[in-house]
Symmetry: D2
């Protein structure tokens, strides 16, 4: 096509290529979800419909971007972990972050009616960011950080909402009551006041959700250290609600480190 | 809330604050829209339903972000121009780009049924980028660039599709036929072969769409050089399909430069 | 020349092009100059030999880089202001900053013997940074910031060292004595205790040093709004010790704004 | 000290922190050294005085920055490799690059008279850049790249200058003669025409120079995987002219990988 004399404005674009051979994590977060959950009368402390919808949207993202190996989500956030050798969009940060964020949103809105009986009353949206992690240790620490955060928030919210829903506290009273309490004290409040053993709460609430890409082919041998394109195409997406922090998560799934290469 | 020992991973985040006092343009583009338009059997060369849906989604974005002064869209892309003094999200690039892109997508998917009789058969998505322009001249040249691009593409597409739809050409024949033709020749083909005077084609196709924020209060005087918060709140969004290239567009709307400050 | 299979490592370099049409300021600062001045027994509060050497080094930098229009220096720092249209090194940040910093250092060490009787006893070095300013207002405010800083420091140092050198104070006593004093009080201390009228102190200490590039050709007319290459080549470098803050500095030298374009 | 109302201009500075836990390589290059070597009548193809001066300047840089573990230089360039955990200047790119470049320049100019009988006739200067390498493999490939480059250039230059100095060729004739020749052919030209066995050329020309930081304490055990501050302080700088490409370079010096952590 013909080029115009205004074409020069393209020079103002910045090349935002992310450092090669480094794990890219793209984390998206719900914008103004406090208001959004109120408007749609979400169940407290956790709304399973919304978690399922978040997970469904994350699955769409993982299906589209085959270089995403693993994703971790809880509450209104999701982190997508890419193979460190991905060259998608030449690793351009804006393109990667905005496309992931857009596709997740698209899937969230599109699939809403499958998870909620009420229609959308306001538009959900998300923001995103990319963070680079140069080695497995710090990448795993990133995931631990998000999972510990999930645990801390969920223990707090579970106790907080029990105090309100079953204990007749006001919001302010519940906040005041929990101020400065440590983990063990919240466990104790749940048990002594409401007969709830926190350890028996659903894993999806306590651990969040982990999507992984895994080989169906049991013949894959770790010593191969690489998957063929054919093997990759036959992989399936599985969702887990387990601890990422134990070494066991990784040692029992050696294909994850291979895929992340 | 308690902080975990994994919190240190936050230090790997990069602060991506955009240079202050510089116009931010966020442009979003449809991903794989060639396939998307085929799947949904879009009308050629332009599908007015989709343009209306794009414009509706852009309106949502402008309503949400009051620091966006003007937006320009055509085909599957939209550019949002921010006041150069905006401090939203502390001007963090990732947050601005990803949130605009996400909200646009949300509105696009949500409003689809109002514009199309058929349901969505695949998920639409967009990517985005931010570009900085340090003065009005180059900002206006950016907008000219997009509008000239719209014109060039539309003239080509109109001729190309007439050759196919009315002229019985195959895709390859039409491409071959138009190779190397200049503007005047395409005008001539349209007129002589199909009786179409390109100048009478709908402005929305030839010029694209421009959303502006404008004061309803006719008492506003340019010499004030500033709008009060009260005046800003009463502004309305208007859509135009006119030339951005003429000085007249700006001189007849002096409030635009004031808002862009 | 032949290329090796290791060439791929070049892809890890980041393109750090600075936004076009924006004023680039490169500021360099002495590293560990507190120790350096002690080692070389600098005169207090100001060592004119060193200021002259700094100015000589800055002159070398301005002679080498003809796109630098103006430079401001005081104490152990110097700021170089570039024409906003410079395309030197394709505006690559690292190249610009490091080369300016290196050449300044080279000139400083090379010219040391012309300004000091004692030889260098340790190696001086500088660090540098680039900052972008998108318009004249903020660029001028940058220069004001440095000049006000020069004034504040010089008034403090002059009073501080008089207390020590003439007043018999120890360092700690002088610091204690000046804690919380405002400008007028320092003026008063200088005058009442030491008979010094600060206003009569040398301008180079109070205002710092400004190098400008100026046309010798008096026929240049501002309305031309541009210099020819020939006119530029004939320009001379002049040093001033005056206020940058008054409008008068700029209105009486209209060629500066033209050169900065 | 008092703060001025112009202080806000600091907000225009960009935070350029380099990704943590990643190897930083700072490479400096002579600016316009072709002209500089002519002016100072350098010996061809290699001027040992200049190489020794470059090495002396690099030693100064390594002495100053104890987080630099290794440096590689040849011709008018030097690469400094930092421990990946360095937090000097909070890993701010501009500060690191400009300070290294400035100190190197300072040492080069200061030490010139120790290496050359003639005085400096023009000012030498260098530019610099930082590149990040996320793992040992690519870091080693970077070093290989530079060493292979040294070898290719030196073989070419040695042959080129023999043709001129001993063979009576003009520059153009020598260029023409060597065009398209492979390594083996240059070896053959040197041997058959000038009786020179390239393999016996000095290692400093063929391999370049490598500064390393090494423990004098032979008691250090690799299994410690870490040096104490006390051990680090006692380390010495050694210069080598050997192949970096062989594994042997690294396996026989296990302390390098430990220091690079």
């Amino acid at each position: 096509m013909a080029k115009s004399r205004f074409e020069y404005v393209k020079q103002y674009e910045r090349l935002d290529r992310l450092l090669p051979e480094t794990y890219i994590v793209i984390r998206i977060d719900g914008k103004g979800f406090h208001k959004f959950t109120k408007k749609h009368d979400f169940e407290k402390p956790n709304d399973l419909r919304c978690l399922n919808l978040m997970n469904a949207a994350a699955r769409v993202v993982m299906s589209e971007f085959t270089d995403i190996v693993l994703a971790y989500g809880d509450s209104d956030e999701y982190s997508f972990v890419w193979s460190k050798s991905t060259e998608l969009y030449e690793r351009r940060e804006s393109k990667l972050v905005s496309h992931v964020c857009s596709l997740f949103t698209s899937a969230f809105v599109f699939n809403w009616p499958k998870h909620f009986d009420i229609p959308l009353l306001s538009l959900p949206s998300f923001d995103g960011r990319a963070v680079l992690y140069p080695n497995m240790k710090v990448l795993r620490d990133y995931l631990h950080w998000r999972q510990v955060d999930c645990h801390i928030n969920n223990l707090y919210n579970t106790t907080f909402w029990m105090l309100i829903l079953k204990g007749g506290f006001t919001n302010t009273q519940a906040e005041e009551y929990l101020k400065g309490t440590v983990s063990a004290e919240k466990h104790e409040i749940l048990f002594s006041k409401f007969g709830i053993n926190y350890n028996f709460e659903p894993e999806i609430y306590k651990k969040g959700s982990i999507w992984i890409r895994e080989p169906i082919d049991q013949e894959w041998h770790q010593q191969d250290k690489k998957f063929s394109v054919k093997q990759k195409k036959k992989m399936v997406l599985s969702i887990l609600h387990v601890s990422l922090i134990d070494d066991d998560f990784w040692t029992s799934r050696p294909f994850l480190e291979v895929l992340l290469q």
